[in-house]
Structures are given as structure tokens and as C-alpha cells.
């Protein structure tokens, strides 16, 4: 191989490590779109909330509301159901009050940049008043971990970390931060190197190299956490392991050979269409299977609750959340965003629409109390200039996008606003 080919190979492998991850709702989102193309019913179109980044306005919105665009590859053509052709203009949503008014104790507005001018990404809440953040890779080659004191809003630098070539996961536990980064040295197998640094600061130290297989097919590792004095992780394809924080060889966790880490010591497996349907507590041996009924789809479970969609005759009917044992079921707002649960199995985000169904904002919804609040996110307008592609003239296109914040299972909800970073500590909502 020439130097160029060798470099190209390295660049492609390195870039692949930085690709986005599939969300748990991917298969469900595909299924929804598949059905929409196939059945083309207006009822199903109302379930169009399959996007974390929603494009609307103008022609795009009309397309979403009208019959679905023809499917170029499948060539399937279902017949429209009666009454699906005409659609009344839906009224604009009523904006709920701002989150700063509804749950003032849970909201912390921080500066958009660190004192050195760098942008950052919130990673996790270490405790009630400490937020761990990392500088973004886009903002300079060197990367740093910082923590914010939410009480005073004061940032403190923790450490510079080796360029996290590849993905990195941060986890807390007993004052230690851990993460991993992917490395490939010539002639050697690719490894996921686990690193650690104390929350109080210091020099990052490698813990262990985890050998990886064909990462294109089998993926890397995830689910890092610190348990006692070990780092726990799982292979993306399944299989929980632990390695001493002081270093050593990773060894498999008994009984969790095919499992993924949900929230230590809870590990689980996905079954059929249900994410984390079966759970095992590896410390106590307790098992928890989730109740799932026929006609339910996109079901995704946490330690206590499951979220999913109920269909009627194959058509989207409602979003629900309930306890794993099937009790305490509640319906969620229709435009809840799948895969963007805000956290703790209790909070959800849904899109707010303005006139002509254009996206207008994002609401945070508390399924326990039924209260909603406006997170403050507003749509952005984009214009793609007219251009000629392969001899075809393409007209100027405009669209509006709404950036729905990163959800997750934990207590942190980070909302990037134009001039500041809004942190919502879901655990602080009573």
C-alpha cells in the first residue's frame, strides 16, 4: 500500500469511530415509515413524530400531512383509506409556561462557552450541584474535561485528556471518571483503551486495553461504569466484562455473557422488538421481565418502566409509559419524540407546533403529574441555494429545523439555546 492508501485507510477507520450511533428507536422509526409508505393512511401520518431533528414548513409539511411520498425502491402501493384525502388544518399548539417558571429549582442556565472561549458538551451530573462537561472536538485539537458548580455557575478545569480518537463514554462512580477511546496501531488489533481521571483533577491514566473484533460488524464497547474498584463495560454486540480500575485483564461477568449494561448492577438483553425486556441484577440475582402486550411496538424498558407505542389495526394509536410489571399505565402526548425520552422513565419531550403545523418549540412533559413546560428551543430557518446537479436544475429550498435536545436515561437534560446552555436536573423535580 502506498503512503496515501495507508493514510486513507487510517482516516476512514478513524472517522468510522466517530460516526453517530443508532438510537434504540431506529428499527421502530423504520417500521413506522415503512408502514406509512405502504398504507398511506392519514391516521398513520399523524404518527409522523419519528424524528429527533424535525424538518417542517412549506412543501415539506404539506408532504407530511398529505399522502406519503411514493416509495422509490419498494414499489409498493397501498390504497388510501376512506377519509384520508381531506385534512382540516390543525390548530397551533398552546405554548406551555417556560421551564424556568414551572420547575425553577431544576433549571441552571450556564454560559455557552468556557472561560477559554471553547464550546463544550455536558456529559453528566456528578451530583446535585456538579456538572461534568467536555470541550468539543470541533473547537481545537486538545480536549479538556471541566466541571461546573451549578450553585455558583463557576467552571473548574479537571484535566486535559488525550485526543479521544473515536467514541468516548464518561461515567462516574466514587470520584472517578472513566471513558474509552478507540486505537489502532499498525500491525496490531484495534483496541478500546479505557481511561480514568479523578473528578478532583489530575493526569488521565490508561486502565486497560480491550481487544476488539471487526468493529464494522461487531462494534466497540459501551455502558461504562465504576463498580466497587472495577470498571464495568459491555461489548456492543453483548457481553458484560469488568476490569480492575488499577489495571489488569478484563474478565467476563458470570451470567451476563450476552447482556448489555442498563444501570449497574442491572444488565439485560433485548428480546424480539423490546429493548431491555429481560433484566438481571448481577449482584442479587433478581430477574425482572417486562410485560408486553400484542399490538405494542417500539417498546423500550428501563429498570422500573417501559415506554412504547400501542397500535390499533396496525395503525399508531397512542404512546404509553408504565411499570415493567404492566401496572400504572399512562398515555403520553401524541407528538412525543421516540428515542428522545428526557430521562428517568418519567420525563418526555414533545414537539410543539405553530401555525400550519410548522415546528415551534419543544416541551418537557412530566408523566407523573401531567405538567408541561417550554424548554426554550426555537426553530431555525435554512436555505439551500438553487444549484445544478448532474445537469438538473434544483430550485432554492427553504426549510425549518427544530433541534430536539439529547435525551437519555439519566437525570441530565442539556438544552443548547442560542446564547446559553440550559441544564435541567430531572432529579430535582419533585
Amino acid at each position: 500500500m502506498t503512503h496515501l492508501e495507508d493514510t486513507l485507510n487510517r482516516v476512514l477507520s478513524g472517522a468510522a469511530d466517530q460516526a453517530p450511533r443508532a438510537s434504540a428507536g431506529l428499527a421502530a422509526a423504520v417500521e413506522t415509515r415503512h408502514r406509512r409508505r405502504r398504507t398511506r393512511t392519514a391516521a398513520l401520518l399523524s404518527a409522523a413524530a419519528v424524528a429527533a431533528v424535525v424538518i417542517g414548513a412549506g412543501a415539506a409539511v404539506n408532504t407530511l400531512r398529505g399522502p406519503a411520498a411514493p416509495s422509490p425502491a419498494t414499489g409498493e402501493s397501498g390504497s388510501p383509506s376512506p377519509g384520508a384525502t381531506k385534512h382540516a388544518e390543525p390548530p397551533a399548539d398552546e405554548m406551555p409556561p417556560p421551564v424556568t417558571k414551572v420547575w425553577p429549582k431544576a433549571v441552571h442556565d450556564l454560559p455557552a462557552k468556557l472561560p477559554d472561549g471553547r464550546e463544550y458538551e455536558p456529559q453528566l451530573l456528578l451530583d446535585d450541584r456538579t456538572l461534568l462537561v467536555m470541550t468539543t472536538a470541533l473547537d481545537g485539537k486538545r480536549q479538556f474535561l471541566w466541571r461546573f458548580d451549578l450553585g455558583s455557575g463557576r467552571p473548574t478545569r479537571i484535566a486535559e485528556i488525550p485526543p479521544a480518537r473515536g467514541s468516548a463514554i464518561y461515567a462516574d462512580g466514587g470520584g472517578n471518571i472513566v471513558w474509552w477511546a478507540s486505537y489502532k496501531e499498525p500491525g496490531r488489533r484495534r483496541v478500546a483503551r479505557i481511561w480514568t481521571v479523578p473528578v478532583t483533577g489530575g493526569r488521565p491514566r490508561p486502565v486497560a486495553d480491550v481487544p476488539l473484533g471487526d468493529v464494522m460488524k461487531e462494534g466497540h464497547i459501551n455502558g461504562l461504569t465504576v463498580a466497587d474498584s472495577d470498571v464495568v463495560f459491555a461489548y456492543e454486540k453483548g457481553g458484560v466484562h469488568r476490569v480492575p480500575l488499577s489495571g489488569g485483564r478484563p474478565r467476563p461477568v458470570k451470567g451476563a455473557e450476552r447482556h448489555h449494561v442498563l444501570r449497574w448492577p442491572w444488565v439485560g438483553v433485548h428480546r424480539g422488538k423490546v429493548v431491555f425486556r429481560e433484566l438481571l441484577n448481577v449482584e442479587t440475582g433478581e430477574r425482572r421481565d417486562a410485560v408486553v402486550n400484542s399490538g405494542e411496538e417500539q417498546v423500550r424498558c428501563g429498570v422500573e418502566r417501559c415506554v412504547g407505542v400501542r397500535t390499533r389495526n396496525g395503525v399508531f394509536a397512542t404512546w404509553f409509559v408504565r411499570d415493567r410489571d404492566g401496572s400504572g399505565e399512562r398515555e403520553l402526548p401524541k407528538r412525543s419524540v421516540p428515542g428522545a425520552e428526557a430521562g428517568l422513565g418519567r420525563f418526555f419531550m414533545f414537539q410543539l407546533n405553530g401555525r400550519e403545523a410548522a415546528p415551534a418549540g419543544v416541551a418537557l412533559y412530566d408523566a407523573d403529574t401531567g405538567r408541561s413546560a417550554d424548554l426554550g428551543v426555537r426553530p431555525e430557518k435554512h436555505t439551500i441555494p438553487a444549484r445544478v446537479v448532474r445537469g438538473r436544475h434544483i430550485k432554492k429550498q427553504t426549510y425549518v429545523s427544530l433541534a430536539i435536545p439529547d435525551g437519555g436515561d439519566d437525570r441530565l437534560l442539556a438544552v443548547r439555546l442560542t446564547d446559553r446552555m440550559r441544564i435541567v436536573d430531572l432529579a430535582a423535580i419533585e
Binding site: Q18, A27, M134
Partner: protein, 166 residues
């Protein structure tokens, strides 16, 4: 029998790998996510047939490569849910040379880029690439040659700063 049987498992198992492949083809996370979702929706439509032939991987990867070099994006109307890699941004590299190469890759015509990704990441032979993209082996070679030529120019003109270029 449910015609979706096994599809969800396939997505769960291969979703991340497909996003990696899509990211290399498209060069950015948004388009990668679109590419994967569109290809998966098409795979889903053809699932009962493809499953029987037992090569859904080949089907979806071929669809992605062909979609990438076609004009499918004009039809795009919605976006997929995707999780950024541990909440970081776009790809970055330790050396200017690598960073420059990644940027230059993004500027290549789609077909040239697809040929290079299939050859140097997927490690496919030229005849396999020809089959995936539905073009002749001669075209694969000429596209690869032109693509590499452009990258070579980029490599030789990469700025050298603070000794970080290797």
C-alpha cells in the same frame, strides 16, 4: 407469519455498523443517518424476499452505496433519530494531514468517494465494487485513480503546523 420477523433483530445488530458505513459515504452525521434510514426502509419493504435469500447485509449496503451516488436526497422529507457519538461533534484527527484528507474526501464527487470507501474501508475488490455500484470494473478503476489523484494533491499541500503533521 409476521413479514417483519427478524428485521428488528437485524437493525439492532447492524444499526451501528451501518451508521459507520453511512458516515464514511456521506461525510457527516445527518446525511449518514438519512442514508441509513432510507436504505433500511427499503430493506424493510423487501424484507420477506431478502431474508429468504439470506443476504440482507449485502442488500442494505448496496442500497446505501447506490442511494449515496444518486439524487435520492431531493425526496427527503424527514430525518432519523440518531445519537451523536458520546455527544461529540464531527470527525477530527490528530494530524493536519489526516484532517486535510478527511476534508478533501468530503469534496470528492460522490461516486469517487464511494469507490474509495468501498475499496479502502470495506476492503472490496474492484469487481465487487463494480457490482455494488452497478458500474463497470473499468469505471471503478478510473474513479479510484481520479479520487486518489485529488487526495494526493491535498496530501502534498497539507499545511505543516507546530510539527503535528506526521
Amino acid at each position: 407469519m409476521d413479514d417483519a420477523s427478524g428485521f428488528e433483530g437485524f437493525v439492532a445488530e447492524h444499526g451501528d455498523a451501518l451508521l459507520r458505513y453511512g458516515y464514511l459515504l456521506a461525510g457527516n452525521p445527518h446525511d449518514a443517518a438519512d442514508l441509513v434510514q432510507e436504505a433500511l426502509v427499503r430493506l424493510r419493504g423487501a424484507w420477506p424476499r431478502v431474508r429468504r435469500k439470506d443476504d440482507p447485509q449485502g442488500y442494505v449496503r448496496t442500497t446505501m452505496a447506490r442511494l449515496h451516488i444518486s439524487l435520492w436526497r431531493r425526496r427527503r422529507r424527514e430525518r432519523l433519530t440518531w445519537t451523536p457519538p458520546e455527544r461529540t461533534g464531527h470527525a477530527f484527527f490528530p494530524s493536519d494531514e489526516e484532517q486535510g484528507l478527511w476534508r478533501r474526501l468530503a469534496e470528492l464527487p460522490r461516486r469517487q468517494r464511494a469507490v474509495l470507501v468501498l475499496r479502502y474501508y470495506e476492503q472490496l475488490s474492484d469487481s465487487e465494487i463494480a457490482e455494488v455500484l452497478g458500474i463497470s470494473t473499468g469505471t471503478v478503476r478510473s474513479q479510484a485513480f481520479r479520487g486518489l489523484d485529488k487526495l494526493r494533491t491535498a496530501l502534498s499541500s497539507a499545511p505543516v503546523t507546530d510539527g503535528s503533521t506526521r
